[in-house]
């Protein structure tokens, strides 16, 4: 084996087998052990919970069941549609509010009145308003991410250091150059913060909406497991939501690193 590959392998080994990872593993194992024993010894609170061993039994049955993955797909599809719509509408709106004082004056008050209404409070009216359940769920998800996105973009774009715009003007920029080459890149970190936070809210909302009105999805899976008395499956549903949310924010972080190479140096 070449020395280069050896060095890479060593690096990988160090990355996987180090004290931090070991501690993390111990922590997770301890939790699982406590949980399992709590059920066996009928400790309070843990007594009613399905034990990890029961859950693993259910997982093996579920992962080979295409219906389980269909629920993943359904939730992901809703999240993606609502989330993307929130970006497509929210980012330009936030930028417009930040760059035009007139537009800000007109839109901000209305925006601020609507913003505190929790997404779930919109469920009844959106069911009435939208023709299908699916579209009303998508709308509620959209709202969940939308306000966070706008507020973050607005804050980011308004706090751009005047030095940068002045320098750009001094170097001969037209207003469009200032927007595309200064305002936009300077706002990108805030856009990605908005995305990350918005994605978290999106998952909260999708699960709740599916519990209320859904016929599929991870929220529906969790709730119907409860209704059907399949308690281990509730936990599997919860874990699935957690993992799905984690994967989504991981994807956003990855995208952020690609889009903002100048932040990679830290």
């Amino acid at each position: 084996m070449s020395t280069g590959a050896n060095a890479a392998l060593n690096k990988l080994r160090k990355k996987i087998f180090n004290r931090t990872v070991l501690r993390g593993t111990v922590s997770v194992c301890l939790c699982l052990a406590l949980w399992e024993l709590g059920r066996a010894f009928k400790l309070p609170l843990l007594e009613a919970m399905p034990a990890p061993s029961e859950i693993f039994g259910v997982i093996w049955k579920l992962v080979v069941d295409p219906k389980f993955w269909a629920n993943w797909g359904a939730s992901y599809q809703r999240v993606l549609v609502g989330f993307l719509a929130a970006q497509v509408v929210g980012i330009p709106l936030g930028l417009a509010m930040a760059t035009s004082k007139a537009f800000y004056d007109i839109s901000f008050s209305a925006f601020e009145i609507v913003r505190p209404i929790p997404p779930l409070a919109w469920v009844p009216i959106s069911i009435i308003f939208w023709p299908t359940t699916e579209s009303s769920i998508a709308f509620v998800i959209f709202l969940g991410a939308f306000f966070t996105v706008v507020i973050n973009v607005l804050g980011g774009a308004r706090n751009i250091d005047a030095r940068f715009t002045r320098a750009a003007i001094s170097l001969g920029s037209r207003p469009s150059d200032v927007f595309f080459k200064i305002v936009l890149p300077a706002t990108l970190p805030s856009i990605f913060t908005g995305m990350a936070v918005g994605m978290g809210i999106t998952w909260e909302v999708v699960v709740a909406a599916e519990m209320i009105a859904g016929k599929s999805g991870l929220g529906y899976l969790t709730w119907s497991s409860y209704v059907g008395g399949n308690y281990p499956q509730i936990v599997v549903g919860m874990m699935s939501i957690g993992i799905a949310g984690y994967l989504s924010s991981y994807a956003i972080r990855l995208l952020g690193r690609v889009c903002m190479p100048w932040l990679r140096i830290f």
Partner: protein, 275 residues
């Protein structure tokens, strides 16, 4: 070499700020002639209104009375302000390299947005300039990776890319340690010796002013007025050893006295710093 450009004529300029109806006179009847290709240092206590003058030349704001001319053309008067343009590029106090662009992208920014060069031409020209200034190795770095001294050098290179008539430097080396400052000073002197641009350099560091400038203009405290103009006849090219020559020390002494008086006045008047 072509005819020198960048002659600045500041004639009886006043600038009155009017926040909440209280007239604050930042610049009062200030007149100053700067020859084309002159290295002019403007020194004054903090908050005396030097930056106001620089911003007026740059075109960031207007003036209340008087006129400023560049190469015989009116730059601004009471009712006219030429908008900022790349013929008088500003290098700011805290540095304003765009963090999201690499050094090369920063340096090509001016010619590309002005449309005077294509991206490819600008890249070639920028690489030449960076090479000439000893900055080629960092062309692909982001500003966040560079030391403060490096950043300033890149920023000066970015300004030079536009072939400006005037370089406007607003305390560019302010928060820098002495060693870094020494290096950047020599860099700027080399740039000046090679390019002979008019430089309008604001500072409150007297030694810096004496060391770099051909002319040191000492301002009074607010309202800002010209108090002394000292011609610095130290030979060029200068280097760090210039600072220990007897002529330098003699001149420095003279200037220190003049500014100390003003600083004391400003201190007693309890002036706050006006950015």
């Amino acid at each position: 070499m072509s005819e020198l450009k960048g002659q600045i004529s500041i004639r009886n300029v006043c600038k009155v700020y009017d926040p909440e109806g209280v007239n604050v006179c930042a610049v009062d009847n200030c007149s100053l002639e700067i020859a084309a290709g002159e290295f002019c240092m403007v020194v004054g206590p903090s908050g005396c209104g030097k930056t106001t003058l620089l911003n007026a030349i740059a075109g960031f704001h207007g003036i209340s009375t008087g006129e400023i001319h560049l190469d015989g053309q009116l730059l601004c008067s009471a009712d006219y302000t030429t908008p900022p343009a790349a013929d008088r590029v500003v290098v700011f106090q805290n540095g304003a390299l765009f963090p999201w662009y690499t050094v090369l992208e920063n340096v090509t920014f001016g010619p590309v947005v002005q449309g005077v060069m294509t991206a490819r031409q600008a890249k070639r020209a920028a690489n030449d300039l960076l090479g000439e200034l000893g900055l080629r190795d960092i062309a692909q770095s982001y500003p966040g990776e560079l030391s403060s001294g490096m950043k300033r050098r890149v920023e000066i290179a970015r300004a030079l890319m536009n072939d400006p008539k005037v370089l406007l430097l607003d305390e560019p080396f302010r928060a820098m340690d002495a060693l870094t400052k020494g290096v950047v000073h020599e860099f700027l002197l080399q740039v000046y010796d090679r390019m002979k641009k008019t430089i309008f350099f604001i500072t409150h560091d007297l030694e810096e002013a004496m060391f770099l400038g051909s002319k040191v203009v000492i301002m009074t405290t607010r309202p800002c007025r010209v108090k002394h103009v000292i011609e610095v006849d130290l030979p060029r090219p200068r280097d760090f050893q210039t600072r220990s020559s007897s002529r330098y020390l003699q001149l420095k002494n003279q200037v220190v006295k003049a500014v100390h008086e003003e600083a004391k006045k400003a201190f007693e008047a309890g002036e706050r710093e006006l950015a």
